[in-house]
Assembly symmetry: C2
Homo-oligomer: 149 residues x 2
DNA sequence: TTTATTATTTGTAATTTGCAACTATATCAA
DNA sequence: TTGATATAGTTGCAAATTACAAATAATAAA
């Protein structure tokens, strides 16, 4: 049987390259980590700091500072939770939403370009496989069992 | 059609987690970037600094310092090229080879655990899909056209 | 031989990171 | 209630990582 790791090493590296390029939008330039943060805030429902930090596996202190930057850039807003005032609820500002959406479009553009090198059948197979893989990884205790998203 | 990016975002994040955990071997602890460097040195034939840096998309100055660290840790060796003395050929020391191999085994262990949640047919499908994906990404001008590996 | 070009290394400064310690709020237990 | 404990988040560091600019050293080209 072939070396599994090699396959995945190449794949993830290439996706890393993809991700690297797509975090600049008009005037705003953000880092890869920051784009992941925007993405998660956009996709979770009234998330707290801890929640997003856990999802992304980022140390909470690092995360705290990253969010501070994003707030300064006027992309993210922090709102104290009404019921538990220790908790800060994160949300995107209008500008933040715009940046997140633009990055999303950019990424989908890249991905569609990648998929344009396959026929419909292959494309379907690959998409189904990614889903299988995501489910399997979620089930694996060795990696992502406790992580949602 | 579903949102492609979401699928890949989740997948690459989970692989990121996988990668994060597997860079400690016995006494030696190295960073994620350093493990990628070891991997590439191990897989390329008599590679130069530039070659590996390009493959990994790391700035050459950053790379130079990372290699210095690895040399200090006695994991990597630099040998001046006989024909062009500007070039340094990189290779793994015995200890470096050991660390690289151990990480490789660790990763394959993780991956096998992930695949244990699938049946044989699914597994085959997924592996074939990753290959398709890697090829397609290699062809895409928008991402990885100029990158080997 | 002079003039590029290429490979790699340093100077320096900004950014990112994480551990430990701190503040503030909430919960639990008697 | 009150004290002890736990949780959410923020800072103080100090180390690691990064990248731009400039330097060095060797080769190639004119």
């Amino acid at each position: 049987m072939e070396n599994l790791r090699e396959l995945f090493q190449v794949m993830t590296r290439r996706f890393g390259f993809l991700n690297k390029n797509c975090c600049t939008t008009g005037g705003t330039e953000i880092s890869l980590v920051q784009s992941h943060i925007l993405y998660e805030i956009d996709h979770q429902h009234n998330p707290s700091m801890q929640q997003i930090a856990d999802t992304l596996g980022i140390d909470i202190t690092t995360f705290s500072r990253q969010v501070q930057s994003l707030v300064k850039m006027n992309l993210v807003k922090k709102t104290p939770d009404a019921e538990d005032r220790r908790i800060q609820i994160l949300s995107l500002t209008t500008e933040g939403k715009y940046v997140a959406t633009t990055i999303d479009e950019q990424m989908n553009l890249f991905l569609n370009d990648v998929f344009s090198h396959m026929n419909d059948f292959e494309k379907e197979t690959v998409i189904r496989s990614i889903k299988l893989l995501n489910n399997a990884m979620a089930k694996s205790s060795m990696c992502c069992g406790n992580i949602q998203g």
